[in-house]
């Protein structure tokens, strides 16, 4: 906790974002930097689970119609504090991991590397692809009264977005 609060509360930002065309399709790597605001951390300590959601959509331009949706992937992390053991538990799918501090727990959800966005067959050599990416603290998964009481509070509005066009692959 001391570790977290010692950081200056910097503006949340997407420190790196990379989409790579590889042998096994399209992969995405990103890293974010943000600190849990005081209100959010307080809620976490009181046992409110926090949900972080990363979502990426691969689109392709279409001049004659709405852009075509090629693929969509999303990841949801759940961070919860266990007061009995004073540990922070991060769930991702079926995986659970415990951390001794909030900072460790949050750092575990801040970055993803080699996230597969599309299968090799889904993306051809042409251009016109672009990726819409968002990373946010999802409050819609919170209990409803909680949502109502935090409605409009800036602490809870953590949201990062990026749209990146895909470069055409280099000629072999």
């Amino acid at each position: 906790m001391a570790l977290v609060s010692s950081f200056a509360l910097a503006e949340p930002q997407l420190t790196s974002f990379e989409v790579v065309r590889g042998e096994d399709g399209l992969t995405l790597s990103f890293a974010t930097r943000f600190d849990l605001p005081a209100g959010v951390e307080d809620a976490l300590l009181k046992g409110v689970p926090l949900y972080f959601v990363a979502e990426a959509t691969l689109m392709r331009d279409r001049w004659y119609w709405r852009d075509q949706l090629v693929s969509r992937v999303s990841r949801t992390w759940r961070v919860i504090y266990q007061p009995l053991t004073r540990t922070y538990r991060v769930s991702f799918g079926g995986l659970n991991q415990s951390y001794q501090s909030a900072a460790e727990a949050v750092s575990a959800v801040r970055r993803v590397a080699g996230w597969k966005l599309a299968e090799p067959g889904q993306v051809d050599a042409g251009d016109g692809y672009y990726v819409e990416f968002s990373y946010k603290l999802d409050t819609t998964l919170l209990p409803r009264p909680m949502q109502i009481s935090i409605d409009g509070q800036p602490d809870w509005s953590l949201q990062l977005e990026r749209v990146q066009r895909l470069a055409a692959p280099k000629e072999p």
Binding site: Q82, L84, T85, P143, P145, I148, S149, I150
Partner: protein, 766 residues
């Protein structure tokens, strides 16, 4: 608004209100079931908000309409407004009251959930659990440390049997010797499973290396819902202790003793329950503002829906209630304007409907009564017109006086008789009419005396003859006046002009007198004449000279006078007892020519002129009598012009035929016209009466005889002055320049039988 659109309104209102109520109910139900509520709260909220907005819109429109109506003063709008306000008040007030109470209830209720003591208890419980777990961990790590030291003391390789013995001493579930990098070298287990224990995490290894012993809790996880994660290993404590090595040779090889002790299941469950409750409480506490907002929002929305529903119902209900009243009032207005047409009936069974029905019945009866009155008025009018016609055509004069003695009704007969425009004096007293003062005085006097004598005499009427001077010539009229009392103090005076009647009576009396006189006088005349002649016969021879001449002259005088007297008496007798006329067909022209032949000298002198009409039909008459008539008339004419110088005197005898409009013969007329001095007005009226004459000599019976004979022949005799508006006279004042006597014969002989048979309608009645 048409009936259809009104229905559409009502139905839509009912639907909206129903939807609102159902939604409110859903909201309430949802509030009972928290998870359902929280899940669906959002859309329910917005839906309700939409419905509320719709209701506001509807109510706003209705309010604006109503305000406009009130402002325009549309009939019934005020009543509607009043009723709607009352209903709305009845609906809204309890709603607001319940809302206020519920608001307080919800606010306090939610706050009361969050109690400092409850929070403290939960904190304490968590701390207790934590402490218990810490104690367990401590114990396991101490035992592990002791066991590790014991193993170190034993030295050399650790035998599985020794390890098993140690495990049993420690009551651990697994015991293992772990290498420096965490690899399991040897393990014993309580269970017979052959599975090797997990490698310790590196963090644990490093902390054990530095602190000789380290322990951690594993598997005590929940996913936030308060129950252990399914399929996860049961909660256990893993402790790692450094096994001291006394063997120098083996000092390089670090070894650890790893013990795994299962946490008692009840302890784990309880601890997790405490943690779950704590977490729940904290979350709830964080979200309490939200909860409060939710409940209050639900409550407010329900209130709004209820209130608006109540308002709409109020408007609809009051509309329903007001409708028959409006119908009634509209009907009353129409009746007040005089429209008694068929009234609308409100088709409900309640008293209001009955009221409209009764009203419609009443209006119908009124209408009937009015038409009845109109009919009777028309009848009265007709009767009045009848009466008026009768009055107008009555020859008698009728005057009705009202209670004050003012002239109320005058018929044309009265005007004609008194020759005064009496109808112009309507509303005035009779005395104010010029020339009627004496008449009025007589009338009032008679009425008064009649009223005095009412008890004794006959009450109905009185009657009196009255002579009145009237007209420009102060003619004397004989009136027979009859008075009667009418209802309501009005008085009726009826009078007849009996001048002619009196005249006829006079003629009758004269006839009688003449007959007697003639008889009485005629008898001694013949002896007188004979005696005188005998005197002369006897004495003439005896007398001489002058005496004889005197006798002869005296006797001649006597005889002449007696003869004259005889003639006079004969005339009287003739007048008194004319023989009955023997009516035979005769030609008037022939008759006139025959009479005129006696006046040959006058004809030759040009004084007498006869102009005969051609095609004169035969009339019926007594030739002897008619000869007398013509003779009388011609003699009269000649007498009248006798004073005029010869040459200027002229008597014209003229016959003519009068035709009806259809061309049939109506009358044969005989005119005798002279240019003498004419008659004075007074004589003109009574010329046909006996002994009325303008001549110095004559009996005055000539015209009376003419009249009498004319009457016998059914002929009409008229006497008039020939009036010429002399151009030389001043300002066209009529100047009398002669007299004319006309006889109209309307009885014709049947000789031209074809003519009579062909046109019976033109045959004279008499």
């Amino acid at each position: 608004m048409t009936k259809a659109s009104r229905w559409a309104w009502v139905i839509s209102l009912v639907v909206v209100t129903g939807a609102a109520l159902v939604l409110s109910f859903l909201l309430a139900i949802a509030t009972n079931n928290r998870s359902f509520y929280e899940e669906h709260y959002s859309w329910l909220f917005w839906l309700n908000l939409t419905v509320a907005a719709l209701l506001i819109l509807v109510i706003g429109v209705a309010a604006v309409r109503m305000a406009l109506r009130v402002q325009r003063g549309k009939f019934g709008s005020r009543l509607l407004l009043k009723l709607a306000a009352i209903f709305a008040l009845v609906g809204v007030l309890p709603g607001v009251l319940i809302y206020t109470v519920s608001y307080q209830f919800v606010s306090r209720g939610i706050e009361s959930w969050f109690d400092v003591r409850v929070e403290g208890a939960l904190d304490a419980g968590l701390a207790l659990g934590r402490g218990t777990l810490d104690a367990q961990i401590n114990e396991v790590s101490q035992q592990t440390l002791l066991a590790a030291e014991r193993l170190g003391d034993m030295g050399g390789d650790v035998q599985p049997l020794a390890l098993e013995r140690l495990r049993e001493q420690m009551a651990a579930s697994d015991l293992a010797i772990v290498g420096a990098s965490g690899q399991v070298l040897l393990s014993v287990s309580r269970t017979t499973e052959l599975s090797k224990p997990e490698r310790p995490p590196l963090s644990l290894l490093s902390s054990a290396r530095s602190a000789r012993v380290a322990a951690q809790l594993e598997g005590l996880d929940d996913d936030g819902s308060g129950v252990p994660v399914a399929g996860s290993p049961s909660a256990r404590i893993r402790a790692l202790a450094v096994v001291p090595s006394i063997d120098v040779a083996l000092a390089r090889q670090e070894r650890f003793l790893m013990a795994t002790a299962l946490l008692p299941a009840t302890l784990a469950t309880n601890a997790l329950a405490v943690q779950s409750a704590y977490r729940e409480y904290q979350q709830r506490s964080l979200a309490r503002e939200g909860l409060r907002k939710m409940y209050i929002g639900t409550l407010t929305l329900t209130l709004i829906l209820a209130v608006f529903g109540a308002l709409l119902l109020a408007v609809t209900l009051s509309n329903q209630l007001v409708k028959p009243l409006l119908l009634l009032a509209e009907g009353v207005r129409q009746v007040a304007k005089g429209d008694l047409g068929v009234k609308q009936v409100f088709g409900s069974r309640d008293e209001l409907g009955g009221l409209t029905r009764s009203f419609a019945d009443m209006t119908g009866q009124l209408s009937e009564a009015r038409s009845l009155v109109q009919r009777s008025v028309a009848q009265v009018e007709a009767a009045r017109t009848n009466l008026q016609t009768i009055l107008d055509n009555l020859t008698s004069g009728v005057i009705v006086f009202d209670r004050e003695g003012l002239i109320d009704t005058v018929n044309p007969g009265a005007t004609r008789i008194v020759r005064q425009p009496l109808s112009a004096y309507r509303g005035q007293r009779l005395e104010e009419v010029e020339g009627m003062e004496a008449f009025a005085a007589m009338v009032w006097r008679r009425f008064e005396s009649h009223a005095d004598a009412a008890e004794s005499g006959d009450r109905g009427h009185w009657q009196e003859a009255f002579d009145m001077q009237t007209g420009a010539n102060r003619d004397t009229l004989s009136l027979l006046v009859r008075g009667a009392l009418m209802p309501q103090g009005a008085r009726l005076v009826v009078f007849d002009d009996i001048t002619e009647l009196v005249s006829a009576q006079r003629i009758e009396a004269w006839s009688e007198v003449a007959r007697r006189l003639a008889h009485e006088i005629k008898n001694p005349l013949t002896p007188i004449q004979l005696s005188a002649e005998r005197l002369e016969h006897k004495l003439a021879a005896k007398l001489e000279g002058a005496d004889q001449a005197m006798l002869t002259r005296a006797v001649a005088t006597i005889v002449t006078q007696v003869q004259a007297m005889k003639t006079l008496v004969n005339e009287f007798r003739d007048y008194a007892r004319l023989p009955a006329a023997q009516l035979l067909p005769l030609d008037l022209n022939v008759l006139v020519a025959e009479v005129l032949s006696l006046y040959a000298t006058a004809q030759e002198a040009g004084t007498l002129v006869f102009s005969a009409a051609t095609d004169l039909p035969l009339i019926v008459g007594d030739a002897t009598q008619l000869r007398q008539v013509i003779h009388n008339l011609v003699q009269n004419g000649l007498d009248a012009v006798a004073e005029r110088p010869a040459g200027l005197a002229l008597v014209r005898v003229k016959t003519e035929v009068a035709h009806t409009e259809q061309g049939a013969v109506r009358a044969v007329r005989l005119h005798v016209i002279d240019n003498g001095p004419g008659f004075s007005d007074k004589v003109l009226k009574r010329a046909f009466e006996p002994y009325v004459t303008t001549k110095s000599k004559g009996t005055g019976l000539g015209l009376a005889v003419v009249k009498k004979i004319a009457d016998e022949h059914g002929a009409r005799a008229r006497l008039m002055n020939v009036v010429v508006t002399d151009s030389a006279g001043a300002q066209g004042i009529p100047v009398v320049c002669g007299a004319q006597v006309s006889l109209s014969f309307s009885k014709f002989a049947l000789a031209p039988a074809l003519t009579v048979a062909a046109s019976t309608d033109t045959a004279p009645a008499h």
